[in-house]
C-alpha cells in the first residue's frame, strides 16, 4: 500500500537497520545474484595481496540494494519513481548499517501526488556510507 499525503509531513523520518554484522558470505551472495564477481568483493587473497585493501568490501550496489529495502518497506511496492545515490565510504565485513529516509517535499504533478525523500545510510560508527534521494507516488 502506498503512503498517503494526509499522513505525511516534511521532516518525517523512517529508519531501519538493514544489515547487522555484514558477512563475507552475503557479499558473495550479492556477487552471485548481480553478476559482479569482482575479486575485490569476493576474494580476500587478491584484495589484500594485489589490490592493497585490508579486506574484501561490499559492492556499492549491495549498500544501495540494502537501502532500497528500507525504502520500499516505507513507500510501498511498485511506487518508486526515482532512486539515486552517491557512495561516500566503503562498507566492510562486520559493518552494521542503518538506512534513513527524511521527507523533503510532498508535491503534486499532473494530478498525481509524490513524496521526495532524502536518504542517508550510516555504519555502526555513525559514518555515512551512502547519501541519496528518492521519489515515490503516494495516495492523496
Amino acid at each position: 500500500m502506498a503512503l498517503s499525503a494526509r499522513q505525511l509531513k516534511v521532516g518525517d523520518t523512517h529508519s531501519e537497520q538493514v544489515v547487522d554484522n555484514l558477512t563475507r558470505t552475503q557479499i558473495v551472495q550479492y556477487a552471485g545474484a548481480s553478476g559482479d564477481y569482482n575479486p575485490i568483493h569476493t576474494d580476500e587473497v587478491y584484495t589484500t595481496q594485489v589490490a592493497g585493501y585490508p579486506s574484501v568490501f561490499a559492492h556499492g550496489m549491495l549498500t544501495m540494494g540494502l537501502t532500497g529495502t528500507m525504502l520500499t518497506n516505507y513507500v510501498g511496492d511498485g511506487c518508486l519513481t526515482k532512486f539515486g545515490v552517491r557512495f561516500t565510504k566503503q562498507v566492510w565485513p562486520g559493518d552494521t548499517l542503518t538506512a534513513n529516509a527524511t521527507v523533503e517535499a510532498i508535491r503534486e504533478e499532473g494530478g498525481q501526488r509524490f513524496v521526495d525523500l532524502q536518504l542517508s545510510t550510516v555504519n555502526q560508527n555513525g559514518e555515512e556510507v551512502l547519501s541519496g534521494y528518492a521519489s515515490a507516488r503516494i495516495d492523496p
Binding site: 500500500m1 502506498a2 538493514v18 544489515v19 552475503q26 551472495q29 550479492y30 552471485g32 545474484a33 548481480s34 553478476g35 559482479d36 564477481y37 569482482n38 575479486p39 575485490i40 569476493t42 576474494d43 587473497v45 587478491y46 595481496q49 594485489v50 589490490a51 592493497g52 585493501y53 585490508p54 559492492h59 556499492g60 550496489m61 549491495l62 544501495m64 540494494g65 540494502l66 532500497g68 529495502t69 525504502l71 520500499t72 518497506n73 510501498g76 511496492d77 511498485g78 511506487c79 518508486l80 519513481t81 526515482k82 532512486f83 539515486g84 545515490v85 552517491r86 557512495f87 566503503q90
Partner: protein
C-alpha cells in the same frame, strides 16, 4: 555496453532480493503479489544491475577458458600490466522508473557515455570519473528504467583512516 536480451525471471528476482536482505513476498510469492497493487511479482529497485549476467562482454565475470584476475595458485591469475595500483569503484548510481520490471519481461539495455571529469582525492590520488547512461526497454520497445552510473578510477587504493 549493449545487452540484447535480459529475460527477467522470477527465480533470479528471488535470489537478488535475498542477497539484499529483502524478505518481502512481492519478490517471490505470485499468489501474494496478485492481491497487492502491482498485481504480480516485481523486481526490487536495484535489480536491473543484474543485467550484467546477460552482458556477453562483462569484465567482472570469469569467462569459460579465459584467465581470471582473482586468486588461484597465485594471488592473481593475470600479471599486472594495465593496473598501476588503482581500483575501479562505483561512485554514484541513479535510477528513474517508468515502471517496475516483472517476470516475463525481456529487456534490452543500451548504454551511451555521459560526462568525464577529474578531481584530486585526499585519500586515493587523482580520481577519474566517467558517467554512463543506460536505457532498459521492454519487448514492446517501451522504456522501463533509465539508469545513470558514475564509475571512478583511483590512482592508488583508497587509504583507510
Amino acid at each position: 555496453m549493449a545487452i540484447e536480451k535480459f529475460p527477467v525471471e522470477a527465480g533470479h528476482i528471488m535470489l537478488f532480493a535475498r542477497a539484499v536482505g529483502d524478505g518481502n513476498p512481492i519478490y517471490y510469492d505470485e499468489a501474494y503479489a496478485r492481491t497487492k497493487e502491482p498485481g504480480s511479482i516485481i523486481a526490487p529497485p536495484t535489480f536491473v544491475q543484474a543485467s550484467a549476467q546477460f552482458d556477453p562482454d562483462y569484465r567482472l565475470r570469469p569467462k569459460i577458458g579465459q584467465p581470471w584476475f582473482g586468486s588461484g595458485k597465485e594471488p592473481t591469475g593475470v600479471p599486472p600490466s594495465s593496473g598501476g595500483g588503482g581500483t575501479g569503484l562505483h561512485a554514484e548510481q541513479h535510477y528513474e522508473y517508468h515502471r517496475h520490471p516483472k517476470p516475463g519481461d525481456v529487456l534490452t539495455a543500451t548504454s551511451r557515455p555521459g560526462q568525464t571529469w577529474e578531481r584530486q582525492g585526499r585519500r586515493s590520488g587523482k580520481l577519474i570519473f566517467t558517467e554512463t547512461i543506460t536505457e532498459y526497454r521492454d519487448q514492446h520497445g517501451e522504456l522501463v528504467v533509465t539508469a545513470r552510473g558514475v564509475g571512478v578510477r583511483t590512482e592508488r587504493p583508497v587509504e583507510q583512516s
